[in-house]
């Protein structure tokens, strides 16, 4: 029944209570740009979804404009994921908003057990103003550093509340506790969805990346057939170009189509069953990325 469906990318969104996970999720829903997103949350808190986005709602499901949904899974995440894959409409991307004390890497490992899904990125949201204090708390400090230690992407929220000096100190601290992660500073959860999502935009969505704020810039490459695709991707991410995200399809000399998904230093390069339009989107932080030599 679902053999021929492409595997659905799953992003886990972790972070302690009050870090801004819900704000980020709302921003992503607001800027879904045609993607069908399914958001899974433990429970519907006071305001899981901004009211103006809601089309209809019952106890466990909120329907959102543009074909997105938000479900509460209570205590049964795996059951909810199974139900979702077995349903008639399979989403383009699943977001799991974890509880404040969950360890996202544990959820990533579990997602990998289910056929039809793959883990796209583990994202952790932190509050720029309070995270370092919280990380010293007797009760939750080690939970917060554990959340960060395996993150692929750290969204540093509420950047408007701290000084430039504090921002730099925070960046230094994060490079220690979240090594190997991409750090995305933001305010009010405004992160470009393309930087978050691994799902590759279909041509109908427009390959010119559209960003909702000025923090990001991107380039779309249409490389000629490539001799060694994994090596090509390896070079792309180790050349210190500041690429946050790269995703899309390219072809090798044998006319084999490859799917490329890059988050920071981590890449996933697989042969694609289907022939897709050649195009690789690379996204970086404005002013901190170097696309020189890549532009066609």
């Amino acid at each position: 029944m679902m053999q021929n469906r492409p595997s659905v990318p799953v992003t886990t969104i972790g972070g302690y209570l009050g870090s801004g996970k819900t704000t980020l999720v709302n921003h992503l829903l607001r800027n879904a740009n045609g993607r069908k997103l399914a958001v899974l949350v433990n429970e519907f808190g006071d305001l899981p979804i901004d009211e103006d986005l809601i089309e209809s709602q019952d106890e466990t499901l909120i329907s959102i404009a543009g074909g997105c949904i938000c479900c509460s899974f209570g205590n049964d995440l795996i059951g909810a994921l199974r139900d979702m894959l077995g349903g008639s409409t399979v989403p383009d991307q699943i977001l799991i908003e974890t509880s404040g004390v969950a360890i996202p890497s544990a959820i990533v490992a579990t997602v990998a057990l289910l056929t039809g899904l793959h883990s796209d990125a583990s994202l952790v949201v932190v509050d720029a103003e309070t995270v370092r204090t919280a990380a010293r708390d007797d009760y939750i400090g080690d939970t917060i550093t554990r959340q960060l230690s395996d993150a692929d992407i750290v969204v540093v929220n509420k950047g408007d509340l701290v000084s430039d000096t504090a921002k730099q100190e925070l960046a230094d601290w994060l490079s220690d506790v979240a090594p190997g992660s991409v750090i995305l500073p933001t305010e009010f959860g405004r992160v470009a969805p393309d930087a978050i999502f691994g799902c590759v935009a279909e041509p109908s969505h427009g390959l010119t990346a559209h960003h909702s704020d000025a923090l990001f810039e991107s380039i779309t490459l249409h490389p000629d057939p490539i001799e060694d695709v994994p090596n090509y991707v390896h070079r792309l991410i180790t050349e210190n170009r500041g690429i946050v995200r790269a995703k899309g399809y390219v072809y090798d000399m044998m006319d084999q189509c490859w799917l490329i998904q890059v988050v920071g230093q981590r890449s996933n390069v697989t042969r694609s069953d289907q022939a897709k339009q050649n195009g690789l989107v690379c996204i970086g932080l404005r002013g901190r990325c170097d696309f020189s030599g890549l532009r066609p």
Binding site: N75, V101, I140, T143
Partner: protein, 547 residues
Amino acid sequence: MSQTTIYSAKKIITMNPNQPEVTHVAVRDGRILGAGSLSDLEPWGAYTLDDRFADKVLMPGFIEGHAHTMEGTLWRNVYVGWFDRMDPDGNIWQGVKSIDAIVARLIEAEAKLADPNTPLSAWSLDPIYMDNRRVTRHDLDRVSTDRPIGALHASGHILNVNSKGLELAGLLRTGINHPGIPLGADGLPTGELFGPDAMTPVGPHVGFERSLTDCDERGLRDYGKLCVRAGVTTCTDLAAQLTDDSVAMMLRVTGEESFPACIVPLKAFLGTTAKDIVDYMLALKPKSTERLRLGRIKAIADGSIQGFSARMRWPGYHNGAPNGLWYTAPDQMSDLYHRALEAGVQVHTHTNGDQATQMALDMLEPALRAHPSPDHRFTLQHCQLADAAQFRKMAKLGMCVNLFANHHFYWGDEHYRLTVGPERATRMNACRTALASGVPMSIHSDAPVTPLGPLFTAWAAVNRITASGRVQGEGEKIAVADALHAITLGAAYTLHMDAEVGSIEVGKRADFAVLDTDPTACDQSDLKDISVWGTVQGGRIFAATDL
């Protein structure tokens, strides 16, 4: 006009200090009309004298303050535990002492299954007693390679499956990278699945459904039989999901004339907001009946000590394992306590590690200042590693505790050697310190983790003997009288039910444990061996032999 029956007994232990022992008890309309001598009771008017208990000892019906009715459902699987255990029908299943014996028992059960696709499910596996020998899919493959097989461990936190079970779940492959799924030399999973994250994707393929924590209809009826066999007349279900369907089912089953116990289910605070669960409890409470008491919440602070998921204070685990996991964030716990105190809804909180206990204390104190609540009786469940200072704090905050006395017997040696080391293992489940600090206390089995049996639990608290036969924590032993109080009035108090059950005195529900011998007269090392004839619940007589 209502009938009065006066029962004579060899001895009636009342738990009423004004007349601790009597010979007769009068019952009318399911309640105790009076306890005393026959001449004390005769003035109540016409009666029938019933001598069926003339050679028995009556106690107040036992109250189990922490168990799970899911045990009733689990008995439909094959029992593969180390210790002998009685099923709902009264059959004693011999403990299995080797992997070969487990395989042999499963082969026997497998032969009785007609449909080749039906999973074969077993429960209560505990290789700790077999020199910690790891059980693998190859062991279970000796039973069958075609039929999916699963064996749930006694802790409930580990599942062993055979190759077919892994295959059906799509996990009989290389490349799996999951902390709860160990791999063999061949790169394939060994068949051991640690923790719910690893268990849940495979469970349904080997006969363990999603909502494992809840019993089903037949399971609840079977659980009622276990209660009778253990002398239990009031039992918690800690914690249930309490969906509309499960509440309807529990109301129906407990309402049956033949159902022999009062069930007190607590709803788990997981996957819901504090506001929603408190509102839901307020709405459920009025649906309570004589035999189903609704309206309480169970919060869960941390995991388990032997699973290394309990939250420990410095210096942490004895073997250096990293600190455990929070199941509920401190801020959420605080939110729950504030709202529940304000609404007058009782919360029982699972804490295993001493840091989890401290967190609960730290969150409750300010909530109590904000919402002064005399007689809240918020209770810490398990609370296994609490130290003396924490018990003193509990007393000051008006809290109760329900200690896991059975745990000490089953896993005490493990804690001594491995998890927390000698000093803290010795103070685990510190019943004597709790009582000396003035904390109202009960003790529990956590069935199905250990068997339902308050007399065994009392024995464990009195003798503090571990499975290997060592006394662990001489200074925390309690007297027989204190242990009997803990399994009757003590437990009733933690549920705000001490005015209606827990002792044999006028006005209370006619709930009795009917025993063949006297627990106050036997050697205290024989407490666990006292045989239970059955119970009287709400005046209805339930003989274990007639179930």
